[in-house]
Amino acid sequence: MTCSEFLQELTDYLDGIIDAPTRAELEEHLTWCRDCFVICNTTQMTIQIYRNSELYELPEDLRTRLRSAILTKCKHQEKAEEPASSPSESSSNSQT
């Protein structure tokens, strides 16, 4: 197996979705090819670092504000679709 063949299979190998014979070939390649060993290892670290990172977390206060805005719009939308049963209704925030 060449290095470029190894790289073609790298994604499936790292995801653990590869058949046993191919896995054996890849692992055999890793035993003697230091470059592919390093690439495999550092690519796995790359995935792990991004997975662990809290890049773009949603702060709790913003979360609450967004949720309340969404729910207001959803309730508004529901009302608009309902046939008008109580025409004089002006403000109700306790829809159940």
């Binding site: 790289l7 073609q8 790298l10 994604t11 499936d12 790292l14 995801d15 230091r34 470059d35 390093v38 690439i39 290892n41 550092t42 690519t43 670290m45 790359t46 995935i47 670092i49 991004y50 997975r51 662990n52 990172s53 809290e54 890049l55 773009y56 977390e57 949603l58 913003l62 979360r63 967004l66 949720r67 805005a69 969404i70 729910l71 719009k73 959803c74 309730k75 939308q77 529901e78 829809q95 159940t96």
Partner: protein
């Protein structure tokens, strides 16, 4: 009120929540928002690269999901369906920002290929400890921003959000081979770029040469 038959909170079964929301139960829909708002925000921020746009996308995506719940066939997971809506909303935001220019996730995907590993230096055993939290965040942010949107989106859905290849293909309207090929290139490009920050240093003392 129709909450009698559904549980709320973490343990609630997703399909029951979706069905209750379909029947007009706002509390059930609120549970679905709580469950997925952080994920939708992350995805939106990764695609738009703009915080305000990402906030708008969260609102628009959930509202659109609520409006179209009746059309959700329950053949896929609710989350995958929601992600698909969010990705489309995020792309529309990008398009508006670029004054009407059509934006697709295929943009720039065919350009330069720096996924061929150039740097094969080994990394420090604990790369995350080489920098403080803020520095690390900046490195990761800048590095991922450098990827074409079509690679970034695949990487985020697969590796950060943990969707399967099939779910990612469905959410981004791509074929499975396209998802796999973009994922490989995204991973290798990120690895290449991070190597310059995380490579094992010869001299550990005060060794930050930028």
């Amino acid at each position: 009120m129709a909450t009698d038959t559904i549980k709320t909170g973490e343990a609630a079964d997703e399909l029951s929540l979706v069905r209750a929301a379909k029947a007009g139960n706002i509390e059930a829909f609120e549970q679905l928002i709580r469950r997925y708002d952080r994920n939708v925000f992350r995805i939106a921020q990764h695609i738009t690269q703009n915080r305000e746009d990402a906030e708008d996308v969260v609102q628009d995506a959930f509202l659109k999901a609520f409006q179209n719940l009746a059309g959700f066939q329950e053949q896929s997971k609710f989350y995958t369906w929601l992600v698909r809506i969010a990705v489309n909303e995020a792309l529309m935001k990008l398009r508006r920002r670029r004054t009407g220019k059509l934006v697709s996730l295929d943009e720039d995907v065919q350009t330069e290929d720096d996924s061929v590993p150039r740097e094969v230096a080994d990394w420090s055993p604990n790369p995350e400890q080489l920098y403080n939290r803020a520095e690390l965040k900046e490195i990761l942010d800048k590095t991922i921003q450098g990827l074409p949107p079509g690679f970034r989106s695949v990487f985020v859905l697969r590796d950060v959000e943990g969707l399967s290849t099939e779910e990612t293909a469905e959410a981004l309207d791509l074929s499975i081979p396209a998802v796999k090929s973009r994922l490989l290139r995204a991973r290798l490009q990120l690895r290449n770029r991070l190597t310059k920050f995380f490579r094992q240093r010869q001299q550990p003392e005060n060794g930050r040469n930028n």
